[in-house]
Point group: D2
Chain length 292, copies 4
């Protein structure tokens, strides 16, 4: 498969950092990178002036960078360390490993696999987990192992243990609930904090929970939407990453909403995954900062 | 004032009708109009196949129509009468009379008055009712009587009686709550059923009630909106006429939402009023059919 | 793969008809269907009052319909015949046969194949024609014959002859140019009049021709879009079926537009194909009527 | 009228600057402000990596700032001077003075006057210039001098001279063509470079020039729009500030487009004016950088 992303050349690292606002920190970070031969290819920041908090995304090429990968962290501690400070570093030559969880509905899974296999996304999908066998043929088409792990009210704890073991075995970084239609437990959420993305087929906080298109139709709304968010312990209440909407009318039946809603669902989910894979999202206080 | 709408010529009547689906009713209505010399200028219908219900809007010019205005109703009873059948007739040379209720925020009021006074809408506004005196200068600019009727928890019943008397005196057809920011009583609602339009500055059913922009900001949504709806006894739960949205980001403060939200609010409210004035809305089972 | 569309049961026929406006035609059509036992499941029409033209889509179930398939046409000639009258009939148990033409870009092809193979669309794709071999692996994934027919300035006539022979052999009803990036000849267009759908990655009539994202970037537009249209002899000038847009800013590079534009392209193209497959489009005077 | 904007308190200055990218300039600017007691309330920048150009907007409060207003420029020359460098300084207690140019259509003028008089915008409108007398009553309603200066092919040079004299007399900073429907000359454009904003009722570059709604209807587009741009010598080709669109269908007549297009026109124009008044726009190479 031709890669759209050249990874070998132009190896880079991306820093996502947030902390209390400090005078000169932006300049300090820039200077640190440049003083050691890094070439900055992205630098944006956002200051929440209500809480005096600083959020930044800084990406630089490593070709001539003189600090070793495993020493960057120490330098950042010196520059930006503190109890209020949180950061992550992501290297461009270590592509993320993503697991897709599905049930019976194929459109989000197809969209994810098509993007991955055409090189649109720098990600590997070593495993698909399913609650039902229906989508095995889709996984087969793309040659990806498909694990049917039927979850019921009775076996939820054991199944989730098995799922977590599978994710650990495959060194999964990101779990995507691509129309999984199941609630994951607090234990599961904590194991992948801010690393589980769900797509909900409504414009949250309107219509959380089951059958949102039916509720939207009954309420007679003129616009419906979809929401991609990080999963937390509370159903459909996690930090929102991306939303989009479409106009509907009295002529649309529930079936029309379900059908045309698919397009919004898959596009919104894929935009959220893209932003996550590009290290463009910082979560703080239940909200997201999404850099351009 | 130049009228954009020529009313004297091309006098027409608009029928809005809904009833259980009956074979041939559309053809019967068409034939009735044409057989008596009416010239149809608009005919659209919608069938809700889930409940087998027929909704139609039929407008015809009266120049050569041989049935007297006050006899049309009898003919409709013959053609379409029945317990399940509801209709209204609206003559183009009897412009609607609209009252605006306001508090302190001017943008919706300005938009309504500008459209009315430039002849964009075929409506008269004989009275503005206000909970505070702040917008008197706006009313004065357009020469419209401005009644300050300060409503409190204690005097709500008396004030609403006075309001209803004022509306009756001015033969008001339509009440627009243009950022009125007060809850009207059941008695008031029943007096003007499906004739009170409110604008709520959120994408209902998300964020009903007070301070929706604050709630939207706290929840971290990526899109906010506004909703125009007919007022019912239940707060922000009436039939939705029109909604629109705008994209926001983490960079938007609550003040940004308030500021840019004004544009959505006034446009959504004005679209809803336009559709009402054009007799394009049928309310049934808590939802609206809005003809094009 | 389970079919979402049950075709055997509820066999139906869809009539698309347009002609000069005639009094009573809608009622005549309705009565014809009902008098012969047909059950109407869709009936909508549109009158262009500027040119007094009538457009209708009428669909009925055939279970108890007493007119033979091949006799319906005669009856329509009696009811609605005339030089000004054009119609087509489409039976639900004869699924359309679609050919996809591609070059190197996979996203529209993947979207089409995913929808087809998951049963979202009632269509068969017996053949993919390509100007380059790049997308063979995609076709293979879905088990569809992939014909590489490299077209150059020199061999255009012969290649198009071969393409037309291939389409005839496979009894193709609809040709989709899914990022084909080639101009088809007048002869080709005439062979499939109003049956070739192209996706152009711009908001036509802005930016026709090559490299529209580059042009959009250079012009500094704040919104970009995509357009699906029927192909005519004139480049990017055919009847528009569907368009959609997305907001961009000065921060978007050409590469950003190319990347995020993919989503609009594939969704707009797929919506157009869906409407075509559902017999919801009438072309007249270079414009489309698209029923809901 | 109560001012929503408190100008006396929190007096601030806004710097808009663009120049070739220089290492450390952002930090230098920040440090300069802070070292002299300025309190930064807004700082954003954008780097166009294709041409290595730096664009920034920096706003700081002057309460404790120790550099005199008229000395800031000198300091900036030291910090950021050079042939490639351009900047402007705007003080919050010197509100802009805006002239509106109109013909016969009232909606944009009403929207501008309503926003100005309700304190939504920090601007003064000392004069309205009109090609026709029709909108005098609107100007009168808001107590603004209204100059009818009927422009023809024969008197264009003299009328424009008179207009320029009037603008000079009123010390106008910004000219808004609020449905002026006239082409201004090169001489006029040069006198107010990047300070004349026009609203065009189409989604440029589609449908420049006259009667765009008619052209859009004839072409059968599914979306129409409006564009606010700075006026240059070339008709409808100036730097785009803001655009927005709305969905239309075959059911929309030209009159429907004209009517519903008004809302887009006035909102797009007002958003562009707002961004100009807030010093959020930098023009470079025919394109705009619009800060959030």
């Amino acid at each position: 498969m031709a890669q759209m992303h050249s990874i070998a050349n132009n190896r880079s690292v991306t820093l996502l950092l947030h902390c209390d606002l400090r005078v000169g920190l932006a300049a300090d970070l820039t200077r640190f990178v440049q003083a050691h031969g890094g070439r900055i290819v992205y630098h944006d920041h956002y200051v929440d002036t209500e809480i005096n908090r600083y959020y930044t995304r800084l990406q630089w090429e490593l070709a001539n960078f003189t600090v070793a990968d495993n020493k960057i962290d120490d330098q950042l501690t010196t520059l930006a360390g503190g109890e209020d400070s949180h950061w992550s570093l992501s290297f461009s030559d270590r592509p993320r490993r993503m697991a897709a969880f599905v049930t019976k509905e194929p459109w989000c899974l197809y969209d994810i696999l098509a993007r991955t296999h055409s090189g649109e996304w720098p990600v590997e999908i070593p495993v698909i987990v399913a609650n039902h066998p229906d989508l095995k043929s889709v996984a087969d088409r793309f040659g990806i192992p498909f694990h049917v792990m039927p979850l019921t009210a009775d076996n939820k704890t054991e199944i989730e243990e098995a799922q977590l073991a599978l994710l650990a075995e495959h060194r999964i970084d990101l779990v995507v609930l691509a129309k999984y239609m199941q609630i994951v437990s607090e234990r599961f959420v904590q194991a992948y904090e801010n690393r589980i993305i769900n797509i909900h087929h409504a414009f949250l906080p309107a219509f959380p929970g089951a059958r949102p298109y039916h509720s939207a139709h009954a309420r007679g709304v003129k616009i419906v939407g979809a929401t991609a968010h990080y999963v937390t312990e509370v159903l459909d209440a996690g930090p929102i990453i991306e939303q989009d909407v479409m106009r509907v009318s009295h002529r649309d039946t529930v079936q029309d909403l379900v059908r045309s809603g698919r397009d919004i669902e898959k596009i919104v989910l894929s935009r959220a995954i893209w932003n996550h894979l590009q290290d463009k999202i910082i979560v703080h206080h239940g909200r997201t900062v999404v850099f351009h």
